[in-house]
């Protein structure tokens, strides 16, 4: 199945800016929605192309939202990458700035305390869930789960610097799978 014609830069910016305001749950949570839009509906990218871009974004340093940058790059070169990034981060950042200031003024209010205390467990459940889902996407067999389990234990219990954990995993990957 061949790809459809790439979108214009304006379409790209508008699409990302819209996604920015509906993307509750952050970058990991919007990946299924991104896939639906870019691969299934518009057919701008094939499934394997999308998966490769996601893997590159996940292995590179930086926030996982950079997968959107890479999609922009693939569709519109460097201008596409910059516009996609500005689109996905801009509107939500303006909202975060506004809400963050109001939040500060409500510091002592019991409503805010209930909100923070009540949402903390949900937040932690979401963090654990996205770790699980990301590994489910990355791990091709039991070895992937073993690597994730050992990495989690090493950082949680032994308090290694996580960079060592990642470097160890990279070495293991180079030998184990070559």
């Amino acid at each position: 199945m061949s790809n459809a014609a790439a979108p214009s830069l304006g379409e790209l910016l508008l699409g990302c800016a819209t996604l920015s305001l509906v993307a509750v749950g952050g970058a990991n949570a919007i990946v299924p929605e991104l896939h639906r839009q870019v691969v299934d509906i518009h057919r701008w990218l094939s499934g394997p192309e999308f998966a490769t871009l996601f893997a590159i974004a996940a292995t590179a340093p930086g926030p996982n939202v950079l997968v959107v940058t890479l999609i922009g790059w693939k569709l519109g070169g460097i201008p596409g990458a910059l516009l996609a990034t500005a689109g996905i981060c801009g509107p939500s950042s303006v909202l975060a700035f506004t809400v963050g200031k109001a939040w500060e003024r409500l510091r002592a209010s019991p409503g805010r305390q209930a909100l923070e205390r009540g949402l903390a467990p949900v937040t932690i459940g979401l963090v654990l869930g996205s770790g699980w889902l990301l590994n489910a996407a990355a791990a091709t067999d039991w070895r992937g789960w073993l690597v994730a389990g050992v990495a989690a234990a090493a950082y949680w219990r032994a308090r290694f610097n996580p960079l060592w954990v990642l470097a160890g995993a990279a070495l293991l990957g180079a030998f184990l799978l070559s």
Binding site: G62, P63, G100, T123, P162
Partner: protein
């Protein structure tokens, strides 16, 4: 519970540098590094303060850690602080990821590189799990707290329910239970 005295909030240059270091080290995602930097290294927040900030970042739409950097930066130094923190977080990774993508076009066929990509992604997921576990250790001891965290995890990871639906049920439950606890504490 650790009793560390927190450092005063930083200004723009320190914010930029700190979030720059988070972006540069954040292989496989920046959440573990954001917590490590803010809580363990710079002592600008404790674990509870970090979870509160993260909750807000997650409740708002858009990338969580970008939101977190905007809110924390704004709290420290207004809109300049927000800009310093968010640009520090994004600037270097933006260039690196584009270089990598460009490079990938030439080296995609190398088999050991595929292996590296797969295991690093798995280890990065493990780090996120460990960060969740660290935050969970500092949860309120109330009975419903761990139960709600576990239920959210199961709904998202195993049942694969849509995020909005999970939030629509879990958030009001948590807020109502926390509200009830706060009322009880006040009466005591």
């Amino acid at each position: 519970m650790d009793t560390v005295t927190l450092n005063p909030h930083p200004r723009c240059a320190a914010l930029f540098a700190a979030f720059f270091s988070v972006g540069m080290r954040g292989f496989g995602g920046v959440l573990p590094w954001a917590r490590r930097m803010l809580v363990d290294e710079r002592h600008w927040l404790d674990d509870r303060g970090f979870t509160e900030l993260l909750s807000l970042g997650q409740l708002l739409p858009g990338p969580n850690i970008v939101n977190l950097s905007v809110v924390f930066g704004a709290r420290c130094a207004g809109w300049r602080g927000a800009l310093a923190a968010a640009s520090g977080l994004l600037l270097a990774p933006l260039f690196i990821v584009l270089l990598l993508a460009e490079g990938w076009r030439h080296f995609a066929a190398v088999p050991w590189l595929q292996g590296v990509l797969t295991t690093v992604a798995a280890a990065a997921a493990g780090l996120i799990l460990a960060t969740g576990a660290k935050l969970a250790q500092k949860l309120e001891p109330a009975w419903w707290s761990r139960l709600l965290a576990a239920a959210t995890f199961v709904a998202i990871a195993w049942l694969r329910l849509p995020l909005l639906a999970v939030l629509a049920v879990a958030a009001p439950c948590g807020i109502a239970l926390a509200w009830r606890d706060l009322q009880t504490e006040k009466r005591r």
